[in-house]
């Protein structure tokens, strides 16, 4: 009963990791962002994380900040996000919304859950909402049959890993490095350690994000995770003017990476 878990499970059945692409709605425009998401799916993304623009993106580095700032200034809101959800679903990938909490709270938690489900969205990832504060969202996502993805981090205690993964549905988001979003030269072994600690407390799929930018890194992460999440590298394609073509090509490279599995699977 989870669209995300089903899709990630299907990838696993093919002996590979799933590719999860992040792009924010409204950069450079709403239409162009939807075109980019469609291109990401055509290039091989299994899941698209549809970013809700927010004025104070405390977990994001300069690349995503710059793109989101454009969307915020243009007044992009939840209605645009729901259109992107429909487009991604139509393109054949699983749409999941990525949003800081305040835009959802402002829209109305129950209204958000109802409208997201109606648009064909699988659920939402909430980077600044921890399960401790998520009462209304747990109830609304249950009622609407939506997935809900919380984050775990290298600094999470074992007790928090257990509680947080228990609250997740769809997958568990392992924020692999301590820090903000942005591409990194190396993935580092913190990610693999975090995934191992997470698997010790849950059977749910674990996807890794923060820092992956190319096919080789994707292959490395695919060696120990169920899904590889890529954000800043996609956004950079748009910021540097390569448009949907650049996004499609990046997806193809990453999709090849998640099939390569350079290291031994767990």
């Amino acid at each position: 009963m989870s669209a995300l878990e089903d899709r990630i499970g299907a990838a696993r059945a093919e002996g590979r990791a799933a590719l999860v692409a992040y792009l924010p709605v409204g950069h450079p425009t709403v239409e162009d962002s939807i075109a980019a998401m469609t291109a990401a799916v055509e290039g091989g993304a299994d899941v698209v994380e549809i970013g809700v623009p927010y004025s104070d993106p405390g977990m994001d580095g300069p690349v995503i900040q710059q793109a989101v700032d454009v969307a915020v200034r243009a007044g992009v809101g939840m209605r645009d996000v729901l259109r992107a959800v429909e487009a991604v679903a139509a393109a054949g990938a699983v749409p999941v919304v990525m949003s800081y909490w305040n835009p959802i709270e402002r829209y109305g938690v129950e209204r958000f859950a109802t409208d997201l489900a109606a648009a064909g969205g699988a659920g939402a990832i909430t980077p600044d909402l921890i399960p401790d504060e998520a009462g209304p969202w747990l109830a609304a996502s249950d009622a609407a049959g939506l997935d809900r993805v919380f984050l775990v981090a290298p600094s999470s205690t074992d007790a928090r890993l257990a509680a947080t993964t228990a609250a997740c549905r769809g997958f568990v988001y392992a924020a692999s490095t301590m820090g903000v979003t942005g591409t990194r030269a190396t993935v580092g072994d913190a990610a693999e350690r975090l995934v191992a600690r997470t698997r010790a407390v849950t059977d749910k799929p674990v996807c890794v994000g923060l820092g992956v930018s190319d096919g080789d890194q994707a292959a490395e992460v695919a060696g120990f995770a169920d899904g590889v999440i890529v954000g800043s590298a996609y956004v950079r394609e748009l910021l540097e003017g390569r448009g949907p073509e650049g996004v499609r090509a990046l997806s193809a490279q990453l999709a090849e990476g998640v099939r390569r599995r350079s290291t031994v699977a767990p």
Binding site: V76, G77, R106, D132, A153, S155, A175, M178, G179
Partner: protein
């Protein structure tokens, strides 16, 4: 309400502890923790260390000694009769946080958090700053305790408060101008959180006000409540009664919570927070978060904030950099919703009138932030009448604001401000007081700043 009723001398000499927040940092429906999971462990560690430290006699003694010998506490209470003539004849007592070392109440909190930093074994502190007062205080404590210090400050504010940038650098701190978003305090906080989540193993975030995720609103309150604890005892000793009202400006809300806390259980004492109304709340160019905002989540806590229909934070506006913030601490939201405290707007022009008035009538140049509280006293005093006793938190001194004030009043091209009649012309001569008309004329110069 015109009250001249004298409160019975208070039996209770000890100030009580408020019943909030709960164990997870909630003040009613406000507060809590809306943060990335990566920060939860650090916030838990900080909470545990703070709870252990506050009951540790060695810490209590070290903190008290620093407050006495370094900050210069207790700060005096000063009655200001010539200023009070403009407050409907009410009596006005100022709690002189401007006389603290570094020139504001911010040092109270920072010394506590710096001691805590040492206790948890971290060597680096980071801070956000708006007016620069919290940055200066943090840089000061870091110098005193041998910690390395990075201060994030909106680029716009580094221009408005250039003097404080120089002070921080002299004290050995690195000042990072923040060029994202509105380039003011809110963006400096975002940048400080990004630094913290990246460097949390070595770094402690010394937060400057009673906002942010738990435990900051609780911890900063407990470090600032010395203001009200002292003032309550000082007023009782001097007057044999409690004040009718306690007034303070509200940016994030730390000086206000600091002076309110001791009085929260004293139901006869009105608690009045003065918010920065900029050009006027109706113009949309203001920073009056409770008056003009709505509940939501910003910077790690649920509280009132200025936001649009999409939940985007709206930029605030105030002549005062220290009040130019679109959020407010969760305890203030709770005090507002429960009716225990009231929050009123004060425009730039009203604050600058009070700024000039206190300077001219009492020889005390207040911080522009604190001038908002003084303007609130001018209005409330007229409402309450001549027997009322008003306690006003003078949260800081105005040295940092001399340039802004000179521009506002057009002092650069004139040797002297025209003396004019004060507000209460029927009562006393007010030599040299700047009229409200003067203040309004000066406004164009101010907004070009």
């Amino acid at each position: 309400m015109t009250t001249s009723a004298v409160h019975p001398p208070e039996q209770r000499l000890e100030s009580a502890q408020p019943a909030w927040p709960d164990a997870t940092g909630h003040f009613g429906v406000f507060g809590g923790r809306f943060v990335p999971e990566a920060l939860v462990a650090a916030l838990d560690d900080l909470t545990a260390a703070f709870e252990a430290m506050r009951v540790d006699p060695a810490f209590v003694e070290e903190f008290a000694a620093l407050q006495r010998d370094y900050t210069g506490r207790p700060s005096p209470l000063t009655e200001v009769p010539r200023f009070a003539e403009h407050c409907g004849g009410a009596r006005v007592l100022l709690k002189r946080e401007d006389l603290n070392h570094t020139g504001s109440h911010k040092i109270n909190n920072v010394l506590g958090q710096a001691l805590l930093t040492k206790r948890i074994g971290k060597q680096r502190v980071i801070a956000e700053t708006g007016a620069g007062q919290h940055g200066v205080a943090t840089a000061t404590a870091a110098a005193l305790m041998g910690l390395s210090c990075t201060v994030y400050m909106g680029e716009e504010d580094t221009r408005r408060q250039a003097l404080n940038v120089a002070r921080m650098r002299l004290l050995g701190a690195e000042v990072v101008p923040v060029t994202t978003g509105s380039r003011t305090l809110k963006d400096a906080i975002n940048e400080a959180f990004r630094d913290w989540v990246t460097n949390v193993e070595t770094t402690n975030y010394v937060f400057g006000t009673v906002a942010g995720p738990h435990p900051f609103p609780l911890m900063v309150r407990e470090f600032q409540r010395v203001i009200g604890d002292e003032a309550r005892a000082q007023v009782l000793e001097r007057e044999g009664r409690l004040p009718d009202a306690v007034l303070a400006c509200v940016g994030g809300g730390s000086n206000a919570i600091g002076i309110f806390t001791a009085f929260v259980p004293d139901e006869g004492v009105r608690l009045v927070g003065l918010e920065a109304a900029g050009d006027g709340v109706e113009t949309g160019r203001h920073a009056a978060t409770i008056t003009g905002g709505s509940p939501g989540v910003l910077h790690g806590a649920r509280s009132y904030l200025l936001q649009d229909d999409n939940g985007q934070t709206v930029e605030s506006h105030s002549i005062s950099a220290g009040l130019d913030y679109p959020g407010v601490g969760p305890e203030h939201s709770h005090l507002h919703d429960t009716g225990r405290a009231e929050y009123r707007p004060v425009t730039d022009a009203e604050a600058m009138e009070a700024f000039a008035l206190l300077s001219r009538t009492e020889g005390i140049i207040p911080a522009i932030e604190s001038a908002h509280a003084l303007a609130g006293a001018m209005r409330l005093g007229r409402e309450l009448g001549p027997d009322a006793v008003l306690l006003v938190n003078l949260s800081g001194r105005g040295d940092k604001d001399v340039e802004t004030a000179s521009r506002w009043f057009g002092l650069g091209d004139r040797s002297e401000v025209d003396p004019g009649p004060g507000m209460d012309t029927d009562q006393h001569a007010t030599e040299g007081a700047v009229t409200s008309g003067e203040a309004v004329r000066g406004r164009d110069a101010g907004s070009q700043a």
